[in-house]
């Protein structure tokens, strides 16, 4: 357990952050009042968000071990422990989650009218399991939280969703569950091989045979690629996004999708390095396919939520591209882009939700020309759209630029023509096309706009919901260095160890394939 560093100044910080939302359910169960439910959930999520700032001040960038660690025996007979800890890869995603949740509550303030109490309970359970996933260091703890979150998410879509909510929620549940059952088999196999330990750092960089690595990688890949979702496993995403309530869409886009890419970084790369090198090329081209496909499909959408959902497929394609170029710019860009996508797409879904609350339609035509009557709203929408198309000065530009730089250097370092980066460029252009098309429609529309004069602009609560997102869009866009500094040591250490495996792995693959 020498990979774990405790945090004596605040010993149970992570556990408190994880379980505070779960404990927050108790008063909700006792008091049956909509107003109380809203206020209480907002308080709980806000407290968690504020408390998580302590993580930044206490985070030590000089080490690559797992910090704020806690370690307790849980199920002794199988050596399952409650082990949590955080490194440079997980800290940003953890903070993103704690930061997003209060705004999910705010966004549901008037959007959710029925069964408010149940809705808030689902949100709090989601928060606990999402936070746990990012810091779990015991594979079974990870798997339990990873699966447990399906239930509240299923209910969020299934109860408060749109007209096709049943189809969407079942598709979401089945896809994700079917993807991860084989991961459980892989986890148990690893447990056997590592002398009956579920401790994740112990599983990393193990001496597994190439065949075993390949099989484990495939099991991981299925689970994570469906969650990301990578083309061609993406079909659940548009359905789920479109039907989910605003808060559900935001959680899906901002946090759930990141779990897939986080899984690749945390598990696939260190546990199966040889298979990672072997499979990197096909996955890179799948990412390119996702970028182009997501862009082209988004261009054809009339439904704003669907448009953003398909744009997510494209953006997450950039993230997987960045991860599997397996160099420092790429991986750092990928992690930054995960955060960026969480902020930008989350904010876009919030915007669409605000329009939907007024017009009860997500149709682009029905929302056209609102710019004249909702100037504050379209200002926000404009900034977030520009961020989504990676306009310089916004957060996504930094992330995408780093990823593309990583893709370039992957080929040029080997003296090859940079086909990969070249193939990804149209994705950036497509993003501009579909985002500007949406923005043009919403702000100005055409000559036959519906009558929008009855619309009221954003109220204070809505402005307060969106403003922090804008703040981060500009902060990361103009000064990304603090964020990169947080993750850099962990990324460098990960890639160094990974590349020390490269020669042996290619040799192993050669032997196997000859």
């Amino acid at each position: 357990m020498d990979q774990l560093i405790a945090y004596p100044e605040f010993p149970h910080l992570l556990s408190i952050l994880i379980f505070l939302p779960l404990l927050g359910i108790v008063p909700l169960l006792l008091v049956n009042s909509d107003t109380f439910s809203r206020n209480w959930t907002l308080i709980i999520t806000a407290v968690v968000a504020l408390l998580s700032i302590r993580l930044i001040t206490g985070f030590d960038t000089s080490t690559t071990q797992f910090q704020f660690a806690e370690n307790y025996t849980w199920i002794e007979s199988l050596n399952i422990n409650y082990q949590v800890g955080m490194d440079g890869i997980s800290i940003l995603l953890f903070l993103l989650t704690t930061f997003i949740m209060p705004f999910c509550v705010l966004a549901s303030w008037s959007y959710i009218k029925k069964r408010v109490r149940t809705f808030m309970i689902c949100l709090l359970i989601m928060e606990t399991s999402m936070l746990g996933v990012f810091v779990a260091l015991d594979f079974i703890l990870f798997y339990i939280l990873w699966e447990a979150m399906l239930i509240p998410m299923y209910l969020l879509i299934g109860i408060w969703g749109g007209p096709r909510k049943i189809y969407a929620s079942i598709k979401f549940f089945l896809y994700t569950l079917a993807g991860s059952v084989l991961m459980l088999v892989a986890i148990i196999w690893l447990y056997q091989y590592n002398s009956y330990s579920f401790f994740i750092p112990e599983m990393m960089w193990g001496e597994y045979s190439f065949t075993a690595q390949l099989l484990i990688f495939i099991a991981f890949f299925l689970a994570f690629a469906i969650k990301v979702p990578m083309f061609p496993f993406h079909t659940w995403l548009p359905a789920a996004h479109v039907e989910a309530p605003t808060a559900g869409s935001v959680i899906l886009a901002s946090v759930l999708l990141k779990m897939g890419t986080y899984g690749f970084l945390r598990f696939a790369l260190p546990i199966t390095p040889d298979a990672t090198f072997y499979m990197a090329q096909p996955i890179l081209w799948l990412s390119i396919a996702g970028i182009i496909y997501g862009g082209l499909t988004a261009l054809a959408q009339q439904d704003m939520k669907k448009l953003i959902a398909y744009s997510s497929v494209g953006h997450m394609g950039f993230v997987t591209l960045g991860i599997f170029v397996l160099n420092q710019q790429g991986v750092e860009g990928a992690i930054l882009q995960m955060v960026n996508h969480g902020i930008t797409t989350g904010a876009l879904f919030l915007c669409v939700g605000m329009i939907y609350e007024r017009t009860h339609s997500r149709d682009l035509q029905a929302a056209s020309g609102v710019g004249q009557y909702m100037p504050v709203f379209v200002t926000f929408l404009g900034f977030f759209s520009l961020s989504s198309l990676a306009f310089p000065g916004t957060n996504s530009f930094v992330g995408e630029f780093m990823i593309l730089a990583g893709a370039f250097s992957l080929d040029t370092n080997q003296g090859l023509f940079p086909w990969l980066a070249l193939a990804a460029i149209p994705g950036a252009i497509l993003a501009a096309a579909y985002m500007l098309r949406m923005l043009q429609k919403v702000v100005w529309g055409g000559t036959n706009n519906p009558d929008q004069s009855w619309l009221t602009d954003l109220n204070t609560r809505e402005i307060l919901t969106l403003a922090p997102f804008l703040f981060f869009v500009l902060w990361i866009g103009l000064g990304p260095q603090p964020f990169i500094d947080l993750m850099r040591p962990s990324v460098v250490a990960l890639l160094e160890t990974l590349h020390s495996h490269q020669d042996t792995s290619l040799a192993a693959a050669d032997v196997l394939l000859r």
Binding site: I140, A148, I151, L155, I166, S169, L177, Q192
Partner: protein
Amino acid sequence: MMLFLPELTLLGAGLIIFFVGIGKNGGNLVKNIAIALGAIVFLSTLVASGQEGTLFFQSYKVDLYSQTFKLMIGGALFAVLLFANKLEDIRQEIHPEYYLFLFTSVLGLMMLVSSVELLAIFVSLELSSFAVYIMVPLRDDTGRFRFQMEAGAKYLLFGVMATGFMLYGMSLYFGLTGSTQLDVLIAELPSMFNQPAAVVATVLVLCGFFYKLAIFPFHFWVPDVYEGAANETTSFIATVPKLAAVALLVRIVAMVGDSGTVMVNLLMVCAIASMFYGNLSALVQKDIKRMLGFSGIAHAGFVLLGLLVFHITGYAHAIYYIAGYVVMNLACFLVICSVAPQGENVQIDDLTGLYKRSPLLALTLVIGLFALAGIPPFVGFMGKFFLLVDALKQDYLLLVTLAAINTAIAIFYYLSVVRVAFCTGEEKLPSITTPLHLKMLSIVLMVIIVIMGVFPSYFINYAENTILTLL
């Protein structure tokens, strides 16, 4: 006296119900007496839980293992009695007899878990079975339903056939060892597994319990009996006898020990076939009891995973799994009985808008179903996970993969029920009022499902301790 207390209490309970039946009585009297007697039986198992000793010329052993199972059986019986309705679909004048048979069947099951002699096992098993054979067709045949007779006949015929197999196997055991005492068999059998007769005998004896547990290929009775019997009867059949069946399966498997690859392969095939058959058939069911029947076949297949590793932790996990399964099933049947106060069969569509009609029942159902589906953090997941770990420890990678795929298949039909209960029914439907004792029972069941799932250590250790008394 203390050793035999639960059984004596049951016998007394049956007699009391019998005498109540002589007089003329109406209303809820019989039902309330039965509930009170159920509580007394449960208490008696609790009181007798620490007992140890042997009775009846070494053929009846009271130890931690048997008393634990008796406690679970008593608890499950009490729960079933609590949430049973007024038995509207069974004629009023035979209600006392119905409860008499119920108590007799439980008496048989309790004797079964203590029996350590082949003939005692046989007699107890038949005592419990014959009572249930009668309970199934007791459903009213004048009114709406006519398939209870078919169900009863199927149950009887398959049961008798399986018993025949088992009796034949027992006679082979006797021929091989010259004894019907299990402790003699434990000593003699391991050296005999080079003889086909020993393997055949073991397989035949297992058949009897495969039938009770509904493992492929002894599952044919399940869907029809589940659908044809009254809801209360099905609740009983789906839970209490499974406990006793697993108790005896573990006893026999622990007795024969690791008996070579033939046995393992056979159990593996049965496990896989049960899972696929149960899960695939459940996908298309419309009647929820039928669906739970098929899902029960799949779960029985999962229990076999713990047995075919021939290791003490495997047995402990099998017991943990079946205990969890019974609690989850009780939660589901509690809801089924509550939404059908007239005793009618419940179609999945009848659960429409259950969330609005009764939030607590809907929550109970959703937790029960997600637990059955094996979603963490409920007991169903932990049980499945432990069994998969056991099987993979023996390098049965294919078996584990197929079992894991089955959990993915199963989720669909459980979800489709949750969908109906939670996500549909915008129109106004009459709400269901649940009496206080049912509310408490459903909360207790939910808490058990969560506690067993989140803190399994204690239960596993306890199960291991009980098994140590076997060996």
